[in-house]
Symmetry: C2
Subunit: 581 residues, 2 copies
């Protein structure tokens, strides 16, 4: 018995319970969904509908469902004519609307007192349901058929699993995931805010959030320069013409911001950086000696995501991508892609993400038959896909292949990051491009003096800064590694007498981010607050510490480490910062 069927049947039982508790309810639809089910309905009396149900009502409905399940109700399927169906559902306007659209045979399911318009399948009887393994979780509003133009219905969601244990595990995981939600942590730790006046999907980073961002930005820029990238700055906007030449415009138009017409120019915010970098490359004739030409940038990009898709820092309307374009000989592409994966794995590991556990590789392929979505050049696609596959195999990197996920200009390797609840998002990508150089007529002179066409590898090493911050906050539940912590050390003087010592100490620790907690509060409260703020080290100083030039150290997650000489503590954290822990 697939869980999906049980979940679907539970939706009917939910509707049945609602019908008994609130006679006269009008029903929408009630499908099985991932991990559970829901049902949409309009409550009967206007008064009740206005007041609505609250989560307080869920136990009562859940109880009624358990009563029904105990009755061992049978699900009976019947085929009916349109006229019969219309008669059966004569008081159910939403069902009547659905019946009018049904072309083929109409089937209904009877389960006890409740009858639904439904194609099934369903379980035979409610005996199949484990009464301990389901739970109603929340009430929400939902427009009939998902359209704002229609009436708002009430939706009740439920979870359902095979065993009570599975349900509990899922609930625990969800609770933990909620605790780790970067939006929640961002608020608790005062890292970023949104403003109605600024606009949706446009985060403003506070001082503390900006510290994390700056650390990440400098880390990646320095690392890339060390690896031979040329880090540049190019404008956030350009003439629309640029994206028409690049071929991006028709593919990305829907998520691009509108054109800004002024004087003789039509400008647009950039949705990507590639054509800008091509313009830098093309500003001079290039020789093979200059290749691979690795152009990197912390590039602001602008895409107008639908407001329903905006999610904290994960999906925003303006983001900063650690972007790069490697322009190289076709025969050097494999080597370059391999170096890119080296960099990506180094960065991921420095951030604490484990390959195979926190992320995995996806080889995203084109679809030869879709000439509208993908540039037509079968030979080039074959070559490029083989090249990417070859690199992954040679590195013995576990990966899976996904057809029809490529860019229009070539295949790519996506680094799929898994969040705590198991949901995957693309964090970084490496893309092979044989189209861009043609469109911009990029070239180099080879060692025989011949004009040759290079290929381009598009890649991101750390992804969008906004998104990686979200991943990090969730991965560490806010307890970021020492080097990324906005406040690294808090000094807590026991009384006013030690404030001067605290200030001298702060000076000694000046290459770190140190806060003195000298508010008029108890030491206990200051410690609790420091822990809530996830500060890696709390240094408590009293007279005893002053006398021995020491600090009493509390380390985040480890508690009291006892008294440590200031010099030793300094050495310890210097080591910690150098190992990027």
């Amino acid at each position: 018995m697939p869980m999906e069927t049980i979940r679907h049947s539970l939706a009917h039982i939910l509707a049945s319970a609602v019908q008994e508790l609130y006679p006269g309810t009008k029903f929408g639809i009630g499908p099985a969904i991932e991990n559970g089910f829901y049902y949409d309905f309009a409550l009967p009396s206007e008064a009740l509908a206005k007041e609505g149900l609250s989560s307080d009502d869920l136990p009562k409905i859940e109880g009624k469902m358990r009563d029904l399940i105990k009755k061992n109700i049978t699900f009976k399927k019947k085929s009916v004519s349109e006229a019969e169906a219309k008669n059966i559902f004569k008081n159910q306007p939403y069902k009547l609307e659905l019946i009018n659209e049904l072309k083929d045979k109409i089937t209904i399911y009877e389960s006890g007192e409740f009858t639904d318009l439904c194609a099934g399948p369903h379980i035979k009887t409610t005996a199949k349901i484990n009464s301990d393994a389901f739970k109603l979780t929340k009430i929400a509003g939902a427009y009939w058929r998902g359209s704002e133009k229609n009436q708002m219905l009430t939706r009740i969601y439920g979870l359902a699993f095979e065993t009570k244990k599975e349900l509990e595990n899922f609930l625990n995981l969800q609770m933990e995931a909620e605790k780790r939600d970067h939006r929640k942590i961002g608020k608790e730790l005062d890292l970023f805010v949104f403003s109605d006046l600024v606009g949706k999907g446009l985060p403003l980073f506070t001082e503390k959030g900006s510290i994390i961002r700056r650390e990440l930005e400098r880390f990646i820029v320095d690392e890339e320069i060390k690896r031979g990238y040329k880090h540049v700055y190019t404008p956030e906007l350009a003439k629309v013409e640029l994206y028409k030449v690049s071929g991006h415009y028709p593919y990305y138009k829907d998520t691009m911001y509108p054109v800004m017409k002024i004087d003789e120019e039509e400008l647009i915010l950039r949705p990507m950086t590639c054509p800008h970098h091509y313009q830098l490359y093309a500003s001079k004739p290039r020789s093979y000696k200059e290749l691979p030409f690795r152009l990197a940038e912390l590039a602001k990009q602008f895409r107008y995501e639908k407001s329903g898709e905006l999610t904290g820092l994960i999906r925003v309307r303006s983001f900063c991508l650690a972007d790069a374009h490697i322009i190289c000989q076709k025969e050097k592409a494999v080597e370059e892609i391999n170096s890119v994966l080296d960099l990506i794995e180094y960065v991921a590991s420095a951030l604490g993400f484990k390959k195979g556990v926190d992320f995995r590789y996806r080889l995203s392929l084109g679809l030869r038959t879709d000439e509208k979505k993908y540039y037509k050049d079968d030979k080039a696609w074959d070559f490029a896909e083989d090249a990417l596959r070859h690199v992954l195999k040679k590195r013995k990197s576990p990966f899976f292949e996904a057809e029809n996920e490529a860019a229009f200009y070539g295949p790519k390797i996506d680094i799929q990051m898994k969040n705590f609840a198991g949901k995957e998002e693309t964090a970084f990508t490496v893309q092979y491009d044989f189209v861009g150089p043609k469109r911009f007529d990029l070239s180099y002179t080879d060692n025989a003096g011949q004009r040759k066409e290079p290929v381009v590898i598009h890649r991101s090493s750390i992804g969008a800064i906004e998104r990686i911050i979200a991943f990090l906050l969730e991965h560490y539940a806010g307890s970021l590694p020492f080097w990324l912590s906005p406040v690294q050390i808090a000094i807590i003087p026991i009384t006013d007498k030690q404030v001067k010592y605290a200030q001298a100490l702060k000076k000694e620790l000046r290459s770190f981010r140190v806060e003195i907690k000298d508010e008029n509060e108890t030491v206990g409260k200051k410690i609790r607050e420091g822990e809530m703020q996830k500060i890696p080290y709390l240094l408590i100083v009293g007279d005893r510490e002053i006398k021995t030039k020491s600090v009493s150290v509390r380390e985040r997650g480890k508690g009291d480490l006892g008294m440590i000489k200031v010099d030793n503590f300094l050495e310890r954290i210097k080591k910690e910062i150098n190992s990027k822990k």
Copy 2:
């Protein structure tokens, strides 16, 4: 005799010479200008007009002018009626057009064979002119009365001074200024480029230009953080509403990019950062304990300058301002402004700009009577202007006052940077704002628990990064200080045999930006090239240097320093970098 009169008379002599050389020429106008004069005219025959004059013709015209001057020609002024004037200029259509617009008395000046419609004044005779102290400099096209709709005339420019020495000094200065033009240096040193496809006024920084930019950005961010600024990141765009609330929209609309309408939102690229920072401040209730609240940002800003006003990196359409807003108690404003000037003077001096020589202060005041341009609150203006004046006086900073140069929300101190040719541009500003807090309802709780309104100090410490790079390139004629040089050291192996040593050396110098010049060229050519690239140190290595673990050092501007032990050289440049030289 003011030079202006001599210059104006020289314009007439120029016209007179042109009339003799090209009979039938139609004349436009010919005024005195800064350092010289010009005359606009249309050449007589169509053929000649089409072919035009070239700078090759200038010596001939100049010679004719000298001939005329020698003749000791007298300038005679006459009052004439409109009818007389129309008769005198019956073959001069441009003059006739001007006569039609003259309301009052019409005067003409006769000088030898040439008669001009002119109000004067002029010199008595050409004996007053020093024939050695003027020079025709260039020919350009100029529309009649400056309108594109009119005919294009030929304009000849000339310089004129009292003495030959002055003329020569000016010409030398101009030649030096041309050599120092940051657009020329930018091209020679490959620092930035423009692209027709990207758009006007939107520079793309190359690897080398980006190094300068990144060094400056990190320098200013680190310095500001050290001085108690909270460095943040806020979005480049926002809802138009934000700028309507701030009051900027009506004042800056003309240079703002157009509104982007999508879905329910109207977004616009920001022309300034203040309202964004106010939103961060207002995201929480604030206490006096948190003030002064100094928010700083490397903020991208967007203003649509007219294409005629775009100038290299000095005037662009998108720039990155080292911006900050200090929100503080009104009674703390003077102290904060003083600290800002400390910072500005520190930064200017670190970059090598001298107060009083390279820059001076301008106190830009409002105009009480202009209620349209300036927010009406006489008392607040008086207070703010006095505060700024007080700070400047107390610091004993030389400054001058300029009425009607303030922002709409308050007076400001402008730091006026002088370029090599003496032209002034505003580099940084400190502005006092009593309007912003009102418009955004900003507040703090004072130590008595009362809600109070703060003031805002807008300031920039290093100005727009683009503009300061232009200033620096011109100031140093491309020979940037060691810490800002894109390539700091070039290693030149004498033969292929020393390449390995050069590579080991590069590794040893890895905290610096080092290039190995191992192309197949002579050492002499490599040295010349290194000098052209303005590289601070060239290290020549042969067998002798290998044997003694030394390098032969050539320092930029100083030449050969002889052989130096590698360790000693390393020590020297470490010192240099720490002193930011």
